[in-house]
Amino acid sequence: MKNDYLWDGSGEPDPELQRIEKSLGRFRYSGKPSEFPTADSLQPKPSHFAFFTSSWTPRFAAATLFIVALIASGLFLHRSPTEFSNTPAWEVARLSGSPRVGDFSLASDSSKAQLRVGQVMVTDNSSRASLNVAEVGEIYVDPGSRVRLVESGSNRNRLALELGTIHAAIWAPPGEFVVDTPSATAVDLGCAYTLHVNDDGSGTLRTTLGWVGFHKDGHDSFIPAGAMSMTRPVQGPGIPYFEDASEKLRTAVHAFDFEPLSGADREQALRTILAQARRRDAFTLWHLLARVNAAERPQVYDRLASLVTPPANVTREGTLALDPQMMDAWWNAFDLGDISVWRFWEQKQAPPLLKKAAR
């Protein structure tokens, strides 16, 4: 096969690739073999979930084969075969109360079950549970929640949070774990976050580590660690802001996003956001750029440019026209995450015809 040199070093050597190999080879790992402690000397290390609450310490007691077999056989007796698939299941562990997977209640301390594609896990007001897939991450489900497994595979894992609260810590590559809610979809971009959905389908997303993409119908919000975004069924995800932003800014953003404002009130909300924004809040203004009208946009740009130096090759005119490359350059200037990760995910979601057209 052509280009086998790139693949496995065989075939006709490519001089350019050889030069790259030689140049980069100097960075090859040269460390001495590590010495590792004995098993006895290994102290249990706190999980990176510790930033949530201590009572969330994972309780992965081994489930007995009997219970697993009972659950599995029960599921197949009570459900039609089409509701299940051969895709990998998520492991459910009971943390408190009696969470349910399908028709089965996990009542004992060591209870475990599997959540398969199409199945729903429900926690009542006194139940909590965890969901786990070794290569993807861990999800903690609070009381009063309803979670459906939509998709499970080596590169795509999707849950639907229909109601309640989940706390996710994800170590799968960015873009491989997605959670649908009634009003927006959360895309993990390498992070830990808390997602909450109310009875009316509205919700909030708070990022603890890394960043999350929150989108619906062309509305994208990127939420870095320490920030949050609200979402509503009609409007979709709102403008995100850091939780330590001023009360005035947060109230004005909420009003701007979700309240039916008169012209004067809208203008006042916009003025408040711009006046209250700190350098750290530049990312909020970046989101605002795409949500104001053309007449309002120049004042947002001017405030943004006064807080953060415009990146190279970014112009006022281009930004006011929402030039995609310039908008991406702005985002990367905030140093909150590389937006190419998101663009790559977006491209993967596009229908085949759109992808072809994009080329």
């Binding site: 590792f36 098993a39 290390k45 070794a134 170590w171 799968a172 590559p173 190419s340």
Partner: protein, 207 residues
């Protein structure tokens, strides 16, 4: 991690018998032995996967930090090994720990830290030609690290760590097709990027 004295003894005996032929031993066997407390088996896994781990880290953190973090990643893997269920997926599991550790590194360090740590600076000062070559290498590595995650990781494993496509696929759990695509598109993007940014050495020669 708990293991009985009997299991420990059995694991040690297994190691002494099999170390010489360890290259033929499947990952699953080594992982199960390591789960039983066999440090020799874990050492074999380290030898097999250290280039992948270093490659993943180098694609995300400064050069000097990548070397330091390698040990952290394996130590974390050792701590978590007992809880690992799908032993046949050790490589992807370890890769996820490495990516997570790199993310954690950025969370804990200043955002202005640069990827282009200066390896071999002392020797470069004594040898200007070598300094130009090193600057070229750093610029090239930075160009690779400026590519999207999926490409830079694969290119670093291929060009820095010297892994072949089949090795990258076997270690990371990616399909051969995905690795081929990443290599070809990554090299193509690197070429375009490299042509746009003249290397420091070229600038030096041109001036």
């Amino acid at each position: 991690m708990t293991s009985t004295a009997g299991a420990r003894f059995a694991a040690l005996r297994w190691s002494s018998v099999n170390t010489a032929a360890s290259s033929n031993i499947r990952d699953e066997t080594l992982v199960r032995a390591a789960q039983d407390g066999d440090r020799v088996a874990f050492g074999q896994l380290y030898q097999r996967y250290v280039r992948m781990v270093h490659g993943i880290l180098l694609a995300r953190v400064p050069t000097a930090a990548a070397e330091d973090l390698v040990h952290d990643v394996f130590l974390q893997a050792l701590r978590s090994l007992a809880a690992m269920r799908e032993v046949s997926r050790f490589g992807p599991w370890l890769a996820a720990i490495a990516r997570n550790r790199a993310t954690d590194f950025h969370r804990r360090t200043q955002p202005n830290d640069s990827l282009d740590a200066q390896p071999g600076t002392a020797e470069a000062l004594e040898n200007p030609q070598r300094q130009i070559a090193i600057e070229d290498s750093i610029a090239l590595l930075n160009a690779v690290c400026g590519l999207p995650d999926v490409y830079r990781e694969t290119l670093v494993m291929r060009f820095v760590e010297g892994m072949t496509g089949p090795e990258i696929a076997a270690h990371t759990g990616l399909t051969h097709g995905s690795v081929r695509v990443n290599l070809h598109r990554g090299v193509q993007m690197l070429r375009e990027k490299w042509q746009r940014c003249e290397s420091p050495a070229e600038k030096e020669k041109g001036s």
